[in-house]
């Protein structure tokens, strides 16, 4: 029998995780898409070729990618304060989550768009398509299955990162597991959390796979 207070605890943790990951996904999805598209466009031979800008953007993305999340979390706290007014709590956790997921998703977006053949872009140019039309109707549209699959990976990664949000009082399922399970040896909370995390990740992955498959006509 599961204790009612355990259910409450798990539910609260789930809501916090869903909130952090949900908002961070929306923001980093948009941000990563933008940065990823810019990486493609500014690349040598791209539609808006600007090798210097491309190099700079790539460097920033790589720095973001190479910092372990826990360090980033602490390192950008002044920025977090500037954005949300505080460095602790669930909302504050969204900032580092987003900041770390943008470069992560940007690289995935870049790779997904690269999969779209050069010849398709050439065909569109030959038809007299504008840059905007090429970006929206060719690059993004053709890359959709990869973009969705990549977003799924990003959400799962965010769920993982969000476990560390407890460090700044962000709460969530991972924090629950750490505080109750690891520090207080309350096995039922630990097990409940882990099971719930597995279920959530599985659900996200299945949903992502299904959408990606529906979009793919290869």
């Amino acid at each position: 029998m599961i204790a009612p207070d355990l259910v409450d605890l798990l539910w609260q943790g789930f809501v916090e995780t869903a909130y952090m990951v949900g908002v961070a996904t929306l923001l980093s999805g948009a941000g990563g898409l933008l940065v990823g598209v810019l990486l493609i466009l500014t690349d040598r031979g791209g539609l808006l070729a600007a090798p210097r800008l491309n190099g700079l953007l790539g460097l920033i993305v790589n720095i973001g990618r190479s910092l372990p999340f826990i360090i980033l979390l602490v390192a950008i706290s002044p920025f977090t304060r500037a954005v949300v007014g505080t460095t602790i709590g669930t909302t504050a956790a969204i900032v580092p989550l987003t900041v770390s997921a943008i470069p992560f998703y940007a690289r995935i977006v870049e790779a997904a768009i690269r999969e779209v053949g050069r010849d398709v872009v050439d065909a569109a140019r030959a038809m007299g398509a504008s840059r905007r039309q090429i970006i929206v109707k060719v690059l993004l549209r053709e890359a959709r299955p990869g973009l969705v699959a990549g977003l799924t990976i990003t959400v799962v990664a965010l769920i993982g990162y969000s476990a560390m949000a407890g460090v700044i009082g962000g709460g969530g399922l991972g924090d629950l597991a750490l505080r109750y399970g690891y520090q207080r040896f309350e096995d039922d909370v630990m097990v409940g959390t882990v099971v719930l995390l597995i279920v959530v990740v599985q659900a996200v992955q299945m949903l992502g796979d299904r959408v990606a498959r529906r979009l793919s006509h290869r």
Partner: protein
């Protein structure tokens, strides 16, 4: 329809310059099918891509239908491109769109309203014989069907000029034949001008009125197919009608005889026999009806000791045959 003057394009890959097109002049008349042939790396694709400015040439002018494209930029250039169809070796279809929507894409780009698009797409798919596969995605189509979609898409804007880069190289011989027939029919029905790139002599035979042979960025030979073939030094004749290695026929000399156009109607073998008292052996060769003309090349063996030999060869040459010692 197309006038190209002094076209040059150099690529710089890893600091090393590669001149892909090195001073090409080219005129394609309205309604003509012009083929450019040549080895891999000769610069054929680059030349073609310079025609609709997918590649901006370093030097030279490109004029299509009276408009100098090399003088245009941005929106004006995009508009000009909308009047030029292009088909691609690997079809370049959008995988996420059905056959119909791929064709429709060309119309979307031009801002044609949805209702009109639907009508026009149906017309185009019908034109290329693919009306029943309108809802299929490219992955569900065969190579030949994909290229039909590519052709329908290229024709969507009612272009008067079609550019084709190896449109049939990814297809098997039967499918190639079907696509070539389709293109030939379309040029006649729609009055299209085509500039095409190919390395397949079959394409030249079935489609081209005029040809240029490209090597290292230059045209080494160009002109109407019939005219090129009747020149004895023509590489084109050799490429279209390869005769293989020269065999040894004891007591005989071997000659390669080229014929094109009305010359081919001469019964030259019996002429040699009757007038010059020669026994003629045909060693290799072919005579075919090409798109441009009837033409062929024959390798014949004539008796070395025959007294009428020199006269006979002169007679053939006078009659308009290309004659040269086989080698």
């Amino acid at each position: 329809m197309i006038r190209i003057e002094g076209l040059r394009k150099t690529f710089h890959s890893r600091g090393r310059p590669v001149t892909a097109v090195d001073g090409v002049d080219l005129t394609v008349a309205e309604g003509e099918v012009f083929g450019v042939v040549g080895r891999s790396g000769a610069g054929k694709s680059t030349l073609l891509r310079c025609v609709n400015l997918l590649e901006r040439p370093d030097e030279g002018h490109v004029t299509v239908d009276g408009v100098e494209l090399t003088a245009l930029r941005d929106d004006r250039l995009r508009q000009a491109r909308q009047g030029i169809g292009m088909i691609h070796q690997h079809f370049a279809l959008l995988a996420s769109r059905t056959a119909a929507d791929n064709v429709s894409f060309a119309l979307e780009v031009m801002g044609v309203p949805r209702r009109e698009r639907a009508v026009r797409v149906a017309e185009l798919l019908d034109l290329v014989g693919l009306a029943d596969r309108a809802g299929a995605y490219p992955a569900q189509l065969s190579g030949g069907q994909k290229q039909r979609v590519g052709i329908a898409r290229a024709l969507a804007s009612r272009p008067r000029l079609l550019l084709s880069d190896e449109a049939t190289s990814a297809l098997d011989p039967d499918t190639t034949g079907a696509i070539l027939s389709l293109l030939r029919g379309l040029t006649q029905r729609l009055g299209l001008t085509i500039l095409l790139i190919t390395h397949e002599m079959e394409v030249v035979k079935r489609l081209c009125d005029a040809v240029a042979i490209m090597r290292d960025g230059r045209f080494v030979e160009s002109g109407p197919v019939a005219e090129l073939i009747s020149r004895t030094d023509s590489q084109l004749a050799r490429d279209i009608f390869p005769l293989g290695p020269v065999p040894t026929v004891p007591g005989h000399l071997l000659y390669d005889v080229t014929l094109a156009g009305t010359v081919g109607d001469e019964a030259f073998v019996s002429r040699l026999t009757r007038r010059h008292d020669l026994d003629v052996r045909i060693v290799a060769g072919a005579v075919e009806q090409l798109a441009a003309t009837r033409a062929g090349r024959l390798r014949i063996a004539l008796p070395e000791a025959a007294p009428g030999l020199a006269d006979a060869l002169g007679d053939l040459r006078t009659a308009g045959f290309g004659v040269e010692a086989a080698r």
